[in-house]
Subunit: 458 residues, 2 copies
């Protein structure tokens, strides 16, 4: 037995060992299995399962490092998979390749696949165009139900969905109507396809519409797919509900991360490198830190008052955090209300009119708790707040009303201001609101203290 | 013309004026139009449009106060609509009625509708059972493709979806296979329905499975619907993707609100009454306030140090907020990673191993900024931090490293602890983390100050 022969036996055994478990897996399980393998092994598996299976696995957005694995496949095989793949996913994977890998692949692709991928790659990320597939079912408006059905049977394998069939003007090819497959099968075979079409004109989006708006429309009209049309009402592609599900999950992850005060990650937690993670977090953390430095400046401004009555300093963290917390509550409410379209920009004054009394009441509740605390500590001798402890308690209570009202107002208005300035309202993060309220909170605290305690403690 | 006649003419005019605009609207637009009307007017409209239209409108979860509007409909008409409605939505509306309204309606319902509604009402909220519809398509496994198709044509109108057809054992009625309509129409009419069935056994859920898990499975397997089965593998109903879209939106709203430090609202912002809004916010705000009172206790403990060196107090807000901010970042990351199943409970130590160096580095960055600030202010004469300003700068920098590391660790571990204790990891809100870090942060600050400044400033 030669060494070479031995090596190839080893390789065959290795392939068999790697591909073996797959036979018992459905596609989702297979993806999870590949996610657990090293990239060269994952590529080895894909290269050694039937083409149809490999394509199905590569089509799952849950497959991690799909581009990297794909780049390790033999070139001819990779090209064959790309041609068979749903074109929106093929474009995603193509996007993950580097320039030289793309250049090697392109000449091997069927012309049609190449043109579609090149077209789809031109749409910016997070738009309808970037999400859409060109593999939809369409028929001319002068066809019968039977003609449409027999056509669908033929193309079923190559379409991402055939549950929505788009009916085009036979001459201009403009979108006219939509037929669902469920209505189509109930139609009389010899009748026009229009006999089972929806009464309303189809809901459409332009290719540059944001994915959040696409999600909103799909949800609003309970669609399984939505056609993407150009200005001439010619269908460029469709966005399907499964892509929208993935989009929604992604968006809400981004929203929570932004609300947490960092740049949104574009990958799962464990897949982000150390330096990339630092970059995503250090930026906002530093900006917030620089903003928060204003608190040191504010405190420096009041250092004489502080030196006179250290007791004032004791309540600074308590007071400031209350403003931040109430602000963070209000911001979380408004971010979602704006994202869901429950409120529009011009509703800001209605919100302000609600938040002001809410803030005052919440502040009064916290103020009462603070007064109880001071009285109990003073009376039981746990701590001596000095001869003017009653006035101090009043100062803290009034300050809390002021700061919690300010926090609620600032927190609720910030998402509106963000939106007005063209930013994502979700960028109004909890730490951002807290920082904003901290600085103003100190000024409110010392002003109220000077007013109430002037002449006694100060 | 009698007064009565006049009144009825007025009423007819009013109805015509109210229902008039509807003719130009699709269902989603009609819902929006009704949402803009007063409840009695909305009921008047529903009572005066064709039954099929009224049912379609009532089936939209976007219709606000659907239960209240429904309660204003003439009883007979209301019962008729309930029978025609998709049963999951009928149950939702029925749930919104009060006891006496339900009692009046029940006798008027068809037996089947009554039984289904009573059955669906028994499932707890947010479970597969509470989301499911019983109006799905199923056929026995011994049918042919042609038989199935002709059956589907017949029942199409009364099923929420016929895109997934569940194939049952002809004797036991247990779920055997799933056939998609797209594959079914490609089948040979005389072949068994099993010839076009999916190879893998269908993915199913139990009726008590949480809606988040249902969403995860639908997304993972790119399904349009998922069957809900009992322990005998008998299909109780199906959950469709449009319900899951609504669920996901709802869940992410709740997550953001909880992360913002409040109880999740169950209604849009503008629909919540003042006292209800207070209740949702005051609870957590008070709990956080009581927790934050520990900062006052900590500061009281260090009041002698504070009296000696007021300059230490100047940096308290800056230092504390940095800990809170880094904690809030880490929490937002981990909440989502846990929600998406990217990380499991037992991964906590892998996260801790990543967060520690991340926190130290982030703290060092902020520490450097703080040192620059102190040096610049001191050297330019903007503020005099006293003779020991170099030691003070070192104290602040070391404290920041300590606090930001602690914040990142605490913020990342808290969601794990929540999950371990059986709570929703999303309850680890930004204000909660901030409060936790604030108290410990003060202790860290004063301990480091005592260590570095002991004998000089302290």
């Amino acid at each position: 037995m030669t060494n070479l022969h031995h090596a190839s036996t080893m390789a065959r055994r290795r392939i068999a060992a790697l591909t073996g478990p797959l036979s018992a897996f459905n596609t989702a399980d297979a993806v999870e299995y590949l996610n657990g393998l090293k990239q060269p092994d994952a590529a080895l598996v894909l290269a050694n399962v039937p083409l149809e299976r490999a394509v199905k696995i590569l089509e799952q957005p849950e497959l991690k490092h799909a581009g990297r694995i794909f780049a390790r496949l033999p070139l001819e095989q990779a090209a064959g998979m790309l041609v068979e793949m749903a074109d929106d996913r093929a474009t995603d994977i193509f996007n993950e390749l580097d320039e030289s890998e793309r250049e090697h692949l392109l000449p091997l692709l069927a012309t049609n696949t190449r043109l579609v991928i090149q077209k789809l790659m031109r749409y910016p990320a997070n738009t309808a165009g970037s999400l859409m597939t060109t593999e939809f079912a369409s028929v001319p408006a002068d066809w019968t139900v039977a003609q449409a059905l027999s056509y669908l049977r033929e193309v079923e394998r190559t379409r991402e969905t055939i549950y929505a069939i788009y009916v085009m003007d036979p001459v201009t090819r403009q979108l006219e109507q939509m037929v669902t497959l469920r209505r189509l099968i109930t139609g009389n075979p010899d009748d026009s396809i229009l006999s089972v079409a929806q009464v309303n004109t189809p809901v459409t989006v332009g290719p540059l519409v944001d994915q959040e708006e696409v999600a909103r429309l799909i949800r609003r009209h309970d669609l399984l797919s939505i056609p993407v049309v150009d200005t001439d009402h010619y269908v460029l592609g469709i966005v399907t509900v499964d892509d929208i599900l993935d989009t929604l999950i992604e968006e809400s992850t981004e929203d929570v991360q932004k609300f947490g005060g960092m740049e949104a990650l574009d990958k799962p937690y464990m897949q982000i490198g150390f330096s990339q993670m630092l970059k995503k977090r250090a930026g906002w953390l530093s900006v917030l830190f620089l903003g928060e430095m204003l608190t040191a400046s504010a405190m420096q401004h009041y250092d004489e008052e502080l030196a006179k009555t250290v007791v004032l300093a004791l309540f600074i963290p308590l007071i400031m955090s209350s403003g931040g917390n109430s602000g963070s509550q209000a911001t979380s409410l408004l971010i979602r209300a704006l994202a869901l379209g429950e409120l529009k920009l011009h509703d800001w004054w209605r919100v302000a009119l609600r938040e002001l009394p809410t803030g005052v009441t919440l502040g009064a509740i916290l103020g009462a708790l603070a007064v109880i605390r001071i009285v109990v500590w003073q009376k039981t001798g746990l701590y001596d707040y000095g001869p003017y402890w009653v006035l101090l308690a009043v100062t803290i209570a009034v300050t809390l009303i002021g700061i919690v009202s300010f926090g609620s107002m600032a927190g609720s208005m910030l998402p509106f201001i963000m939106k007005k300035l063209g930013f994502d309202p979700a960028s109004a993060s909890a730490p951002f609101v807290a920082t904003l309220v901290d600085v103003s909170g100190l000024v409110i605290y010392f002003s109220i203290a000077a007013w109430i305690l002037g002449g006694t403690m100060l």
